[in-house]
Amino acid sequence: MNVKKTNQIMEKYSIFIVLLIMIILCSILNKNFLSTNNISNIMKQLAVATILAYGEMLLIISGMLDLSSGAVLALAGVLSVSTYKSSGSLLLALLVALTIGVVCNLVNALMVTNFKTPPFIATLAMQTVARGIALLYTKGQNILQLDQYVVFGQGTIGPVPVSIIFMAVITVVIWYIMKHTRFGRSLYAIGGNEEAAVASGINVMKNKYIVFVINGLLVGIAGVLFMSRVNAGLPNGAVGYEMEGLTAAIVGGTSFSGGVGTTMGTLAGAFIIGCLNNIMNLAGVDSYVQQIVKGVIIALAVIWDIQSKSKKSTKVILVESK
């Protein structure tokens, strides 16, 4: 009974145990690791990737993915920055970013649902189109002197950085959607078995559109945070950020086969990668070695996560067959 219980705990919390072990190791390795300042740094560094990771998680759970998020982030970001520079309105700049994110993702949704294009190809096409528009619009040049715009990525409310507040609020909203709404549950059903979902009366097409719209909003916000963090509109910025988002979601236990994944798991995945980058920088690990270590640790974390789950399921099968 106890073994079963332990196994259940391992299954449910394996990724958090990985994170905990990592935090303990990091704090032994570097005395600064657990300082308030450093924790705040890690979270600021994580914010953009985590927000993108939630979008990827929702899409992967419902059997899709988004390869365009880095490029759409850049497009939403530069247009938002440019809106701020010409209007001086932070609210308008934020709205522009959200709108661009949503419009690009509606096109993604259209290609995926109405035209039955595989999400991999549809969003790959969007990636090059969005990057192309960002470069065309800026003629490849960075937009400088953002003035008050930096408040999103660099400002604080009390002692708490604004970007961390964005990340925290989004985490709660996504967690609520996935855990407590019919829409959230229907995503698991769609990703688990789309035909069964249709048969059980779920409006798959509508739900896919909604997922892309949510992803668009998240990408838009990420664009604003990214550009204000670097105090520039970078049309070349965030190249490959979709992979950061995907990695966090996958490390956090989201299954590429669809229908599986949790908000808190994704958050843990993002933290594992964030802590890893941070401790290697604090310890002054060579750039080349960092890449190797990162790859190995990500692989080990995922293997451990999968193994601790499959052990349990093997046991159940064994018990049943007896």
């Binding site: 740094n41 189109v129 990057r131 040049q141 670097v230 049309p235 070349n236 920088n281 604090l282």
Partner: protein
């Protein structure tokens, strides 16, 4: 019904964006064309591509193969090349995009040879990968120039460049005097294997670190020329070090990123910071007293010198030319001149 209308509307948007995307992605069509006249030329050239050369009487046709139009310096250089070509009545310049990809860049060179341009200027993506293709240009009897960075030692090819060693060295020599005793510094490097990144780092080693053995490097990482990567490294370095006296960066973008982290922090108000490139942003930071110095790699000068060189070669005035633009140091004494230059170019809005 509503859904259908929505689907149709989205379809139209998608088709439009896709078409726009195809336009900017194609490797053999003209990319950057700030002026409409050049756009027309580009379209004609694109239509003719592969055909025999379009002969206009008394005009030299020059192809410029840019490394990548998505790289802000390369994009600026391409625009300046077009502007510089305007000054010559007998030169018609077409720009092609190598898209930061050796395969595409090499294909663009081959296409330009086939199209029988009178001269081909190549901005390599990776010098060694383009070397055999530049040799083909020479073999075809076409004037060949490599620029930013030059490919050394090609018989019969000319070159126009900025010297990356000198660009970093002027900063390093100033830093020898400016950096305090027993200083702790951080170093931000460009991509490994990149000629300019490596040469700039060599200059800092020889001109600064070898002379100032008291200085300790407390952090050194590759931030790939990127501002956002530099921000992240600097945040971590600031946490693990009570004191950082100087930021030594191989380009301005990374220096500006690192400065973003310490902006407004009292304990870092005296931090020194060095870059290279002389970007608009760096000039503003130096003018404001936030950044210490940089060295201008002027796209304007590079473009003018390229056109001057190609003109001399085409008219037979000279057979081979290898030349460099100057490497002027920008510090607080002269930053405002360069800010003014950028304002005139519209790269800094007033």
């Amino acid at each position: 019904m509503k859904k259908r209308v929505l689907a149709l509307a989205l379809g139209t948007i998608m088709a439009a964006t896709l078409l726009a995307g195809c336009g900017s992605g194609s490797s053999d069509s003209k990319e950057t064309a700030p002026e409409s006249k050049e756009t027309e030329t580009a379209e004609e050239t694109a239509e003719d591509s592969g055909d025999a050369a379009k002969e206009s009487k008394g005009t030299y046709r020059v192809a410029y193969i840019a490394r990548a139009q998505s790289d802000s310096f390369a994009a600026w250089l391409a625009n300046e090349m077009l502007a510089a070509a305007e000054e010559y009545d007998d030169i018609e310049l077409d720009v092609f995009d190598g898209q930061a990809d050796d395969e595409k860049e090499n294909a663009a060179i081959e296409n330009a040879i086939t199209s029988k341009y009178d001269a081909i200027i190549v901005q390599p993506n990776n010098g060694e990968a383009q070397r055999p293709y530049v040799e083909q240009i020479v073999k075809a009897g076409i004037v060949a120039i490599t620029t930013n960075a030059r490919i050394d030692g090609i018989e019969g090819a000319s070159s126009v460049d900025a010297d990356p060693y000198a660009q970093a060295a002027v900063n390093a020599q100033a830093a020898v005097e400016q950096v305090p005793q027993n200083a702790k510094v951080v170093v931000l490097n460009g991509p490994s294997g990149n000629f300019h990144a490596d040469e700039r780092r060599k200059a800092w080693q020889a001109e600064f670190f070898d002379k100032r053995t008291d200085v300790e490097i407390v952090g050194e990482q590759i931030a790939n020329w990127n501002k956002d990567e530099a921000v992240q490294y600097m945040e971590d370095w600031v946490t693990s070090n009570d004191k950082i006296d100087a930021i030594i960066s191989m380009n301005d973008n990374m220096a500006a990123g690192a400065l973003e982290v310490v902006a407004g922090k009292e304990e870092f108000k005296d931090i020194l910071s060095y870059g290279v490139d002389g970007t608009a942003e760096a000039c503003l930071l130096i003018e404001a007293g936030t950044m210490t110095s940089t060295c201008l790699q002027s796209a304007i000068d590079l473009a003018k010198l390229n056109l001057e060189t190609v003109h001399k070669l085409l008219t037979g005035e000279e057979k081979q030319i290898d030349t460099d633009i100057d490497a002027p140091l920008i510090n607080k004494d002269n930053a405002s001149e360069y800010v003014q230059m950028y304002k005139e170019r519209g790269l800094i809005k007033e």
